[in-house]
């Protein structure tokens, strides 16, 4: 975290603009970055709730998704409070209640209390767009609660670094959200930034800034946003009261790695070298005569690189991948033999129950 704090000091360009006019509608076609910022900031709010202990921030960010005062934000501990406070860019203060949440999408929708008759500037969630890498973007959030007074949130600029998918997998991405994300080359994701918005340079809605997340594949902190396209139907349903929370497929079906391994390499007639370190490469030690492995020509010292298009980086990964096979599946292997890549295919044999 200290690295990220340090980054804050010199890597981020924080632009803060005093708002002279309250833009009540989003229809004004923004022309330049400056005009976009002025148009977007009134739609972004600061949220205050639970936290403040054990290094957990008690502040977050959200954005209006209706003129009646519905706010989309990140589903986080900040909302675990009796009263959630919301501060607008001009300093107006409200309380809000949590109307509904979709933890799998890391989404919560709030409704401002005592806001009847007031019209708020808002984003049309169902008009959110997608964009490719290299697109200039702006991130709006109350990172580190820098915008502590009656002032709009902080803005950072950058480009979309990549559009990719994160899979919530223990040890790789410790995130409740699985799915597509926009990765940003600016430092958008910091303490309290989650729930903020990512827009294009001309103010079109792209994504909601996610919680801080470490990418174990590269050992780096990720700056990313969840596409609002993925969230818009849930937002609409929560607002209209028709929302039914989807059953979390993981709730009764724990980690895949904890599953019993249904198949072993031996079921196909080969053995791996002894698994001695964390990343022992999956070399074949021997094959049984007349086995499926022998018939497709697997040989000792072949290195298994892929199982059904999944890169296999260790013996353990191979055992997991083979363990997940189902009877009747095809097992496609790519092995390295010398400098050649060799493809083989085997039918997953039937297995008697209760084995």
């Amino acid at each position: 975290m200290s690295i990220k704090c340090r980054l804050m000091q010199f890597a981020i360009c924080i632009l803060q603009f005093a708002i002279c006019n309250a833009f009540l509608t989003s229809e004004t076609s923004a022309q330049t970055t400056r005009e976009t910022i002025a148009a977007v900031q009134p739609k972004v709010v600061k949220i205050f709730g639970a936290g403040g202990i054990k290094g957990l921030a008690s502040h977050g960010t959200g954005f209006f998704v209706s003129k009646e005062g519905h706010i989309a934000t990140i589903w986080s501990h900040v909302l675990d409070a009796d009263v959630v406070g919301v501060v607008l860019s001009d300093g107006r203060r409200f309380t809000a209640k949590v109307l509904g949440a979709e933890p799998q999408l890391a989404l919560a929708v709030l409704k401002l209390n005592n806001a009847d008759g007031i019209e708020f500037p808002f984003f049309h969630a169902d008009e959110a767009i997608s964009a490719g890498s290299g697109t200039r973007v702006l991130g709006f959030s109350n990172m580190f609660n820098v915008a502590a007074g009656d002032e709009p949130v902080s803005v950072v600029h950058g480009v979309i670094a990549a559009k990719t998918t994160i899979e919530a997998r223990r040890g790789v991405f410790d995130s409740p959200y699985s799915g597509p994300v926009f990765v940003v080359d600016g430092v958008t994701n910091n303490s309290g930034a989650a729930g903020g918005v990512l827009t294009t340079r001309d103010g079109l809605l792209l994504g909601m800034i996610g919680l801080e997340l470490r990418n174990a594949k590269s050992n780096t902190w990720m700056n990313y946003a969840i596409p609002v396209k993925e969230l818009s139907s849930s937002i609409g349903q929560i607002i209209s009261g028709k929302f039914e929370q989807k059953r979390d497929p993981r709730s009764d079906d724990t980690e895949p790695s904890a599953k019993p391994r249904r198949y072993k390499p031996l079921d196909f007639g080969f053995l791996l070298v002894p698994d001695v370190v964390d990343r022992t490469p999956a070399f074949i030690d021997s094959t049984l005569p007349d086995s499926a492995a022998a018939k497709v020509g697997l040989k000792p010292d072949d290195l298994v690189l892929f199982v059904n298009d999944e890169l296999i980086q260790s013996c353990r990964a191979l055992q997991d991948a083979i363990g997940r096979l189902e009877s009747g599946d095809q097992l496609r292997l790519v092995v390295r033999r010398g400098n050649e890549l060799v493809n083989v295919e085997m039918l997953v044999p039937k297995k008697r129950e209760k084995e």
Binding site: V159, K163, D185, T220, P281, N339, L341
Partner: protein, 680 residues
């Protein structure tokens, strides 16, 4: 396509020129044009970028946790040469896979590494790959757009970060600096211009440190580096030979370690180096390198920093009134440095006294000194026509003469001076069997304060001393817990401590499980008193688990603080490990070569590859163990390998001893060895 690109460039340059006069908000058109240019630049270079995946390998290197995700490489030739950052292969993977933009997947071989610029050349068996276009190095300007492109985040499209060129010739002339976000997701990828021409290959670098992980801590910070592609291409043929490229060495050292304050006067020209062969000598002053005027060591490093073995270096020096010029071809390795040995132990004189010459305390039997008849109480007043004023100076002078070379020695004996010629030898491996102690006069009254041993045998804590308001150095046995850490230490300073003399300092690192404090104290106390050795027993934060790599600073700082508090001869600071603490002691001795001048390993092997023997950091070794210790033969072999690197190394075998801490004979041998570290 080309037309609209050049139009866009024109637009961008218009903006650049107007902005020099007054800041104008960029127009929507300009912002859009720039954005399109970024995307076009990325698509230009994308076919030359490959995705690299590795299988197997290490999890961790130097306490640095390695990711195992995909990384990036850059195609250099249609027939399959790919350059990448060495960082991507730190895990020493069993297999490397390369996927091209057109979806072909191939195994790759590591051909060679460029250790200076942290690059690795791969080869895949393929044809029809799309090599990248390199920007002319001279055309790259600070402030121009610079786009960092990698292929690690997503299999189907490159990942992008936009910034500018922040600086050129960074990290001792090696790299372009950019504020685009550079991290493991694009190391091995490229920095491109706004038209997609490749400026350089992205790598982690640090001006302070040469290791492959150095600079990774700056990821995504706005401090990123790229090696100019033209420089990569210039050495491609050499890398293709399959030999790692090492830093180019000329073979000289400066007397000042101050990079910015010191001058460029050469302290030593290394034997048989390019400098030596070109006829340069100690004391020459470097004026110019490759046409750059240099007056400070930092400027010299800036010219040499990007040099690789085989590169040329034009050098101009000044010697007295004349100047001398030569073109050197740099080498990757110098013959190991070997100091000459005369065979004398210098008298340990009072530090304050200014003396003419250096007294002879003892002469090694059969040594060059013995052969020319030097005797105790002689004074060496000149060596190679240099007037001698201190033992340290004489050690330095003698080390400049190589074994088998001759040197003139002027000796004063009974008031008469005599000029002798000695043929120097190498350092002897054996210890002198008998070595008389060096007398130390008693300290004047009140100069030191004795530690009081309490009736219960415990020693009073360091804090008690402060209560009495005395800051005189303590003697006897005492200890301290270290605030803000779980570490502690104990020490024994000879009761006869006299700050007017220089003492040896023995830093003892216990093995896991047992501090052996009583054993070490009891067996060393008498020798410490006799031979003027200060004992410093350091304790690991977790005695049971033993020393951890992150405790190196504690040991270093404690030793340095003792050097400040007591009169310690900098040439006799020794680390001592036993059994499993040996590797940690070795690591420290190699890491802090400016502090530790001796390493004693008892019943423990050297497991780390020793660094090059350097004249500026004298380091001597003693390996000691029982003849019945299973490690006995290995220690003997260790000592031989150290000698092959031209380090002075003694191996002491203790008859009939099993694997345990050395007995009284062993401690006697270690104390004799410490007491002879100032030999010359």
């Amino acid at each position: 396509m080309m037309k609209s690109a050049s139009l866009m460039l024109l637009l961008l340059s218009c903006f650049a020129s107007t902005s020099a006069f007054a800041w104008q908000a960029p127009t929507r058109e300009l912002e859009e044009a720039e954005e399109q240019a970024f995307k076009r630049a990325v698509s230009q270079v994308a076919p030359s970028l490959v995705r690299i995946e590795t299988v197997g390998g290490l999890d961790q290197v130097q306490n640095f946790l390695l990711g195992n995700g995909p990384t990036t490489g850059l195609v250099l030739s249609a027939d399959g040469y790919v350059i990448s950052s060495s960082f991507n292969f730190l895990s020493k993977p069993a297999s490397i896979l390369v996927t091209t933009t057109d979806g072909r997947r191939m195994t790759a071989k590591v051909i060679a590494n460029d250790t200076v610029r942290s690059l690795t050349l791969l080869k895949v068996e393929a044809d029809g790959l799309v090599p990248a276009r390199a920007a002319v190095k001279e055309s790259i300007k600070v402030g121009q757009w610079a786009i960092a492109v990698g292929r690690a985040l997503d299999a189907n499209a490159p990942n992008v970060s936009v910034g500018i060129v922040s600086a050129l010739n960074r990290v001792w002339g090696k790299a372009i600096q950019t504020d685009a976000k550079v991290s493991p997701v694009n190391y091995g990828g490229v920095l491109v211009d706004v038209d997609g021409t490749v400026l350089g290959v992205l790598v982690p670098l640090s001006p302070q440190d040469n290791s492959t992980v150095a600079g990774v801590e700056w990821y995504d910070s706005g401090i990123g580096f790229a090696i100019p592609l033209t420089d990569v291409l210039a050495t491609l043929d050499r890398l293709k030979q399959g030999k790692d490229l090492r830093a180019g060495l000329a073979g000289f050292t400066f007397s000042s370690t101050d990079m910015f304050g010191g001058d460029t006067k050469i302290d030593r020209v290394r034997y048989d180096s390019p400098m030596y062969r070109a006829g340069f000598k100690d004391g020459d002053q470097i004026l110019e390198l490759d046409g750059h005027k240099v007056t400070r060591p930092a400027q010299v490093k800036h010219v040499l920093g990007s040099k690789i073995e085989g590169d040329k270096l034009a050098i101009t020096i000044k010697r007295g009134a004349e100047t001398k010029q030569a073109d050197l071809t740099l080498v990757g390795e110098l013959p190991p440095f070997e100091a000459g040995f005369l065979g004398v132990l210098p008298t340990r004189e009072k530090l304050a006294g200014v003396a003419e010459g250096v007294g002879v305390r003892w002469v090694y039997p059969d040594s060059p000194a013995a052969k020319i008849g030097l005797q105790p109480r002689d004074r060496i007043v000149k060596f190679r026509d240099q007037a001698i004023t201190s033992a340290a100076q004489l050690i330095d002078q003698v080390s400049r003469v190589r074994p088998t070379e001759k040197a003139s020695v002027v000796v004063r004996r009974d008031g008469k001076e005599e000029t002798l010629e000695a043929t120097l030898a190498g350092y002897p491996a054996d210890l002198p069997k008998e070595l008389p102690t060096s007398p130390i006069e008693a300290a004047a009254e009140g100069e030191v304060k004795k530690a009081v041993e309490k009736p219960d045998g415990k020693v009073e804590a360091e804090g008690d001393k402060k209560a009495e308001g005395s800051d005189k150095p303590r003697t006897g046995r005492f200890g301290e817990e270290v605030a803000d850490s779980k570490n502690a230490w104990w020490a024994f300073v000879p009761e006869s401590y006299n700050p007017a003399y220089g003492y040896s300092l023995l830093a003892w690192l216990h093995p896991p499980g047992d501090t052996l404090e009583a054993t070490v104290y009891d067996s060393w106390k008498l020798e410490a008193e006799r031979r003027g050795i200060i004992l410093l027993g350091l304790k690991a934060a977790n005695v049971g688990a033993g020393w951890q790599a992150n405790e190196a600073e504690f040991v270093h700082e404690t030793v340095v603080s003792f050097q400040k508090k007591y009169s310690v001869d900098a040439g006799r600071v020794v680390l001592h490990g036993y059994d499993k603490s040996g590797p940690f002691a070795t690591h420290l001795a190699f890491k802090h070569r400016d502090v530790f001048r001796g390493l004693i390993l008892a019943a423990s092997l050297i497991t780390e590859r020793p660094p090059e023997n350097l004249p500026e950091y004298r380091l001597q070794f003693q390996l000691i163990c029982g003849s019945k210790d299973p490690a006995h033969a290995f220690l003997d072999r260790n000592a031989n390998s150290l000698r092959a690197l031209k380090y002075p190394a003694n191996f002491t075998s203790l008859p009939d001893l099993e694997h345990r801490y050395p007995n009284a004979d062993g401690v006697d041998a270690m104390a004799r060895w410490i007491d002879s570290l100032d030999r010359l």
